[in-house]
Symmetry: C2
DNA sequence: TGTACATCAGTGAACGCGCGTTCACTGATGTAC
DNA sequence: TGTACATCAGTGAACGCGCGTTCACTGATGTAC
């Protein structure tokens, strides 16, 4: 529907939009979310300031587009990683997915930071953010779907079960990634608990690494991630080689 | 040394400094790090803008002071929590320390965010940041000092051991909180590995909670933290009731 | 206890800056007949 | 294939704003004798 009947003008338009976004990302790369200034972007592209208003309604609109892209990009990276290891053991798949997420975040820290939390005072995230966040988390669901949670994970599973019963859309989302769990609250809750815990752990390790917080702490992202993955796999009784 | 011979003038000075910091924090509370504006702070206090330059050299100086305070405050909260449970089991102590950290972060999210990562484009953290960060992490060290790390934690322990050998100050820092581990690389490495993993996990759970990232994800900070603590305690073979 | 002086908090005017955004416009490019 | 018109990219001038920071000053408060 978005791709219908693009004349040359529309194509050019899309291209310029992309160039603006690229220039914006380059600014974010050195300077954080506050460093995004339309005036400066325009200058970098050899345009006058007002020209950008042909392509984005305003600053927030551009920022929203960047955030949307970042989510989509992360989701693609993780989705592709998941596709290549579909037949491996859950343990191995967890390793690969977590590694893919970290690799994406490390390679483009400013985009990772865009996804994380509210980037700006006054900025309100667009409605479809939740949907996109779910697309990032989705591939983790099938990894844990067949797990048998131990004592540590039990309370999380209970929590997720009651959440599944309270909110309708969640079950459908889980079933999208774990077709076998459709209608099965218990199985869905296990998958959810694992995915959420994986996400939290990942954010912990990757977030600290990206922020450079561990610079003077003898930190090594890869080692930490491996240890976390092992713990989580244990907690959910995932099968596969250590 | 800082407290010597304070005349009434110096006391008043300290008080005004504190008031400025309070007003600054109030601004951060609604608006993020970018929302800190000297002009606005002055107005909030019924002062003219330039008056603030009597108390802080410039904007960055004020920001640094706030960050320093936040670290110290967090360290105090965790240190006090640790003091009240000195005799309990390691498992229980981990729970209490993690809970204290979360409670502090949740109660003052803007200060937590100040501690987390680089808050601003162009802002350079002061030199003593590392020292202060270590004061926050320190109380976690003795919790893990007597642990017997399992397979998942082993590689982290190795990493920390080589770090201890590479950098001189680290061992002294560990020994400060775990006197028995002085000179013992293995014991120090175990304590360090546990503390670092705890910090990463905490940041994951608390960071997502503070950023409101889990709003539409059925998240419950307390349940997640409990599950994480259990996993970590297992991985380090900590004794105590589940 | 009283006076002379130094210190220091705070003011108001002013600076230059970069920002988001609007407006009326010009000129090129595509479209309809 | 050629012409008339509509569309749209981009410009330059201008707006008001809030910001950090400087400067020369005034007046109150503390200190030394």
């Amino acid at each position: 529907m978005t791709e219908t009947q693009q004349g040359p003008r529309a194509r050019y338009r899309e291209q310029t939009r992309a160039e603006i976004k690229e220039a914006a990302l380059r600014q974010l790369a050195d300077g954080g979310a506050g460093a995004l200034a339309l005036t400066r972007i325009a200058k970098a592209l050899g345009l006058s300031g007002p020209a950008l208003y042909r392509y984005f309604a305003n600053r927030d609109d551009l920022l929203s587009a960047l955030i949307r892209d970042a989510y989509d990009d992360a989701a693609t990276a993780i989705g592709e990683a998941a596709a290549t290891v579909r037949d491996r053991s859950p343990r191995e798949r967890l390793r690969v997915l977590a590694g893919a997420y970290r690799a994406w975040a490390i390679s483009e820290p400013h985009r990772y930071l865009l996804i994380q939390g509210s980037p700006e005072p006054g900025y309100v995230a667009p409605d479809d953010t939740l949907e996109r966040a779910r697309a990032v988390l989705g591939p983790f669901l099938p990894v844990f779907a067949g797990g048998s949670p131990g004592a540590d994970a039990a309370s999380m599973v209970d929590r997720m079960a009651s959440w599944l019963e309270a909110e309708a859309g969640v079950g459908a989302w889980v079933a999208e990634y774990v077709p076998g769990a459709a209608g099965d609250v218990r199985a869905s809750a296990v998958a959810l608990a694992g995915a959420v815990m994986a996400w939290a752990q990942l954010h912990g390790a990757v977030g600290l690494e990206v922020a450079g917080q561990f610079a003077g702490m003898g930190h090594d992202g890869e080692t930490l991630l491996a240890a976390q993955n092992g713990m989580l796999a244990d907690a959910f009784g995932l099968s596969g080689e250590r």
